[in-house]
Amino acid sequence: MLSITIFQLFFALIAFVFWLNALLKFFRRERSQTFFKFFANSVVWLGIMLFSIFPSQVHLFSEKLGFGESLNTFIFIGFVIVFMIIFKIINMIERTERNISEIVRKEALSEIKNQ
């Protein structure tokens, strides 16, 4: 019988909501969701969801992956978090680049408006 604590359920639900959001964005073909982003989101959020519900499988998973010790699994998770942070930074840079282009465009088009 699988026993789940309220914290496990909470984390699993949070992860599921984030993954569902990514899935909907992908199927709606929203511009902010490319295949790569959806894939990365699925790996991260589904991973968190599964490990929240089946924490004992983490050790088994790390053994299967060849990590052996659970400490290495934490290091692996650390890498995932760093990856997510990089992902966020890329998004921020993209937004900034887009804003710069919009400002440059507005300025260029003002010549037509002024005519």
Binding site: T34, N91, I100, S101, A108, E111, K113
Partner: protein, 227 residues
């Protein structure tokens, strides 16, 4: 041709093309298209000044270099403001032949929303490595954006009024050309491809900012991660 020629706009994104831009404008005019919008994408040379000297040309300038895609989008926005019925985008280095425009317009008149000029439908004179790179680009565009075309990186395209009102691109550089393909797919626009002549001159091949292997990989990565 039923489209009112006074509402056909030719959009030319240009970056450091001062030595050829006047010839490109004259060649387009010789083909009887007079609504020409030049977008100087932050050139260091006299591209903007030379374009402005040509009578009747609408010359706009990006005060910063933002990329071919950003410049094309500015041109299309300008054409929308001028109530264009059809917009043709054409490269600023003179590699495209304006004589092909008439065939594109005919297809727009036939009811297509977008006409893509395809170099691979007429690869005469095209270097082998460019043909191979194009096939790879087409495959990546299909894998990422879901629509197969024979030349996903061509800048010579025609858009109907419906297409320019629906297509909404976000990317700025060479990935723009592929993003348009995604927009065609996303908005279910009716499109076709037509063979175009491309003149590979020493000038056009020597430009350092043109698509090369390094830029190709950068474009691919951006296509994968950018929104």
């Amino acid at each position: 041709m039923s489209t009112n020629t006074s509402k056909i706009y030719i959009v030319i994104p240009a970056f450091n093309e001062d030595s050829v831009i006047c010839d490109v404008i004259k060649e387009i005019r010789a083909s009887k298209y007079n609504n020409i919008i030049i977008i100087d994408d932050g050139s260091f040379d006299q591209t903007y000044e030379n374009a402005k000297k040509e009578n009747g040309v609408i010359a706009l300038k990006h005060f910063l270099n933002r990329g071919k895609g950003a410049a094309a989008k500015t041109g299309i926005e300008a054409a929308k403001m001028l109530d264009a019925d059809v917009v043709i985008t054409i490269d600023g280095d003179g590699q495209h032949n304006p004589d092909d425009i008439a065939r594109m317009l005919k297809l727009i008149d036939d009811g297509f929303d977008v006409v893509l000029g395809s170099r691979l439908k007429n690869p005469k004179g095209m270097p082998i490595w460019k043909i191979a790179a194009n096939h790879f680009g087409n495959f990546c565009t299909w894998a990422i954006y879901g629509l197969w075309v024979t030349d996903s990186q061509s800048g010579f395209r025609a858009y109907s009024k419906k297409a320019i009102s629906l297509i909404d691109t976000k990317t700025d550089r060479y990935e723009y050309d592929s993003e348009v393909i995604r927009e065609i797919y996303r908005n279910k626009l009716k499109f076709t491809e037509t063979p175009i002549e491309v003149r590979y001159t020493q000038y056009s091949m020597s430009k350092v900012h043109k698509m090369n292997l390094q830029n190709g990989f950068k474009t691919l990565i951006k296509m994968m991660i950018s929104s």
